[in-house]
């Protein structure tokens, strides 16, 4: 009789949630996740002895940041049915493998879009008006000595080309319209030099591989394009050193999404989708794999 009473009182185990991340990437809301889910962390310190067994039963994976999910990874987790990404981008997932395994995928959707659009405009103004360079100039104590700072280039009224007019691109367009910008539609991909010319400026808040980085660096060093504002790079956190000495370049460590507001929105989305999955409700920001 005591044994039967025991069974009723033992709490139900929390659903398994497999974490997939680089060791250096943490998630600020991990502690809250642990109150609702049994989080299986490959980098638990000390290591979790139940990880190898339990991970094989996990139905859901939370992939933090840019950690790739390959078909080999998917082979290690045979019970996987659903992966949550925490980025707007999905280039780190082997989509074909997910499709084969019939694994559902959600991303960060548009929780970051406003902040990325703001940042893109901020980078553009910074490059054209030399804000960071001028700030360095003042802090170096050069203003009393040199008197006049180098003139920048007017932002308002410029022709702005936006590659990709989705959630982020359309918001960038709306902001630039208030600056009287002309927004030509870009068709196909031109070479950088033909699109920009000697005074044109490129801003990248998407993904490093969207631009041929080697070519870009050469063009900038040779002064064949006007400048660049870069938040993403081909091989982060590596940034080509020839860029460090250039005043017409603004460099940023992949931070376009990093605001308190964005992360609060991401947290809400993740918790909402997890609950939805485990209660068979529709998911938000689902990626079409077909």
């Amino acid at each position: 009789m005591a044994a039967a009473a025991d069974q009723h009182q033992r709490p139900q185990p929390l659903p398994l949630l497999l974490l997939h991340r680089f060791a250096s990437f943490n998630l600020s809301f991990l502690p809250v996740l642990r109150t609702k889910y049994t989080v299986l962390d490959p980098f638990a310190d000390p290591p979790d002895p139940s990880f190898p067994t339990l991970s094989k039963s996990a139905r859901v994976m939370l992939c933090v940041g840019p950690k790739p999910v390959t078909s080999e990874d998917l082979d290690r987790y045979p019970s996987l049915e659903y992966i949550l990404g925490t980025s707007a981008g999905i280039n780190n997932f082997d989509l074909a493998a997910c499709r084969r395994r019939v694994i559902r995928l959600t991303s960060a959707g548009d929780v970051f879009s406003v902040d990325v659009a703001d940042y893109a405009v901020g980078l553009a103004i910074d490059v054209l008006r030399r804000v960071s360079a001028a700030d360095r100039f003042v802090r170096a104590g050069s203003w009393p000595v040199q008197n006049e700072y180098t003139l920048g280039s007017k932002v308002s009224g410029k022709r702005v080309g936006i590659v990709g007019l989705g959630s982020i691109g359309s918001r960038v367009a709306k902001r630039f319209e208030a600056f009287g910008a002309a927004l030509p539609t870009t068709q196909g991909s031109k070479s950088l030099t033909s699109a920009l010319g000697k005074t044109g400026v490129i801003v990248n808040v998407g993904r490093g591989p969207l631009i041929d980085e080697k070519e870009l660096v050469e063009l900038l060093v040779r002064g064949e394009i006007g400048g660049a504002g870069l938040d993403v790079f081909e091989n982060e956190p590596h940034v080509p050193e020839p860029l460090f000495g250039l005043d017409n370049v603004v460099l940023s460590p992949h931070k376009a999404v990093l605001t308190l507001d964005s992360f609060a929105a991401l947290e809400e989305l993740i918790f909402s989708n997890l609950e939805a999955f485990f209660s068979n409700q529709p998911l938000r920001a689902e990626v079409e794999l077909d």
């Binding site: 680089f22 250096s24 990437f25 943490n26 940041g65 406003v114 902040d115 659009a117 703001d118 940042y119 405009v121 901020g122 980078l123 103004i125 910074d126 054209l128 008006r129 030399r130 804000v131 960071s132 001028a134 700030d135 360095r136 100039f137 003042v138 802090r139 203003w143 009393p144 008197n147 006049e148 700072y149 003139l151 920048g152 280039s153 007017k154 932002v155 308002s156 009224g157 709306k174 902001r175 319209e177 208030a178 600056f179 009287g180 982060e236 956190p237 940034v239 460090f244 603004v250 460099l251 940023s252 460590p253 931070k255 990093l258 605001t259 308190l260 507001d261 964005s262 992360f263």
Partner: protein, 334 residues
């Protein structure tokens, strides 16, 4: 939308009771005292030939723009004030020749200079701000004054938004961080979102309205404030109202802000951040600000683009030529 804001400005003249404002901007429309109402009738004189124009003495107060200087040199008899080893002797010597002064935001025409130049007819400023010109004295003596409005409105408004983004999103800090080789994978510091934040604008003239138009594209609600007093309009009270999450952007004139108060508010963390293009005594910038990552410091570059400075120079030249050819001034203030 713009009309609504202008109307709101007339109807409600709030004092500094911001309800959770996020950014306060000060711009130059405060510098044009609206109570000064000058007529613009010109004296009848025959137009001058190019040769006669070249004999007209024009005094340029400081280096401000190579193109302007070259053109003034070509068209008039140009004197460069900053190159004179003994300025008062120089003024006495050339008092009968100098009929025009070209100044800017740093050096204009104060009462002393105006008194020293009895033949002065026109002051043409390479700026929209008029704080370095004794307007009352000019009116008294029938001296014309022109500035460079409109051509720089977009640039200053663009920079105001740029400063807000740079401060809130820590763009300059990020750039320094990467250049120092400090970027390690996965480390992230969160900054503050800009879109949707309340923006207070002090001074809703051309520039203020242009800022409002841009801020609205970021879904920022606009609060406006107008008062007749302009010096130290941003004082401790305003800074306290902004608080540790508030940001101050100054693209107007340094003296609008109580600078020592601003420095201590920032250093002590009572004010969340600042984007400053102008200072009390340029080019001096309080060094206590250099180490702060929530501050962006610029060397008065509000209108500092190649395109706009040329437009401003053309306005200065156009005004001078119009005056000496007895044609209507392009952008008269007095």
């Amino acid at each position: 939308m713009l009309a609504t804001i202008a109307r709101r400005a007339h109807l409600s003249r709030p004092s500094f009771s911001f309800t959770h404002p996020f950014a306060v901007l000060i711009n130059q429309s405060l510098l044009f005292p609206s109570h000064l109402n000058f007529s613009t009738t010109s004296v009848a004189r025959p137009p001058l030939s190019a040769a006669k124009m070249e004999a007209i003495g024009v005094l340029m107060m400081c280096p401000m723009n190579n193109y302007l200087e070259e053109e003034l040199d070509k068209r008039f008899n140009l004197f460069r004030y900053w190159k004179q080893p003994r300025p008062s002797e120089f003024l006495t010597q050339h008092a009968q020749t100098i009929r025009a002064v070209v100044g800017n935001a740093s050096a204009g025409a104060d009462a002393k200079l105006i008194d020293a130049l009895p033949k002065l007819e026109i002051v043409s400023s390479f700026s929209v701000g008029l704080d370095k010109i004794d307007l009352n004295k000019c009116k008294e003596k029938g001296i014309r004054v022109t500035n460079t409005p409109d051509v720089l409105t977009d640039d200053v408004a663009d920079l105001a938004i740029g400063l807000m983004l740079a401060v809130l999103r820590r763009i300059c800090e990020c750039d320094k961080y990467v250049r120092r080789g400090e970027w390690k994978f996965g480390d992230f510091k969160l900054s503050s979102k800009f879109s949707g934040k309340r923006v207070g604008i002090i001074g809703l003239g051309r520039i203020g309205l242009a800022i409002a138009k841009r801020a609205e594209a970021f879904d920022c609600p606009i609060t406006c404030a107008l008062t007749p007093e302009t010096t130290h309009i941003v004082n401790r009270e305003v800074m306290d109202a902004l608080g540790p999450k508030g940001v101050l952007i100054n693209i107007g004139r340094g003296p609008h802000v109580d600078e020592p108060e601003l420095v201590s508010a920032l250093v002590e963390g009572r004010l969340g951040g600042a984007g400053l293009d102008v200072f009390q005594k340029e080019p001096e910038v309080p060094e206590q600000l250099f180490g702060l990552e929530n501050v962006v410091l610029l060397p008065h570059v509000g209108s500092g683009t190649i395109e706009t400075r040329k437009d401003m120079a053309d306005l200065v030249l156009g005004n001078l030529e119009a005056h000496f050819a007895n044609k209507p001034l392009l952008t008269p203030v007095v």
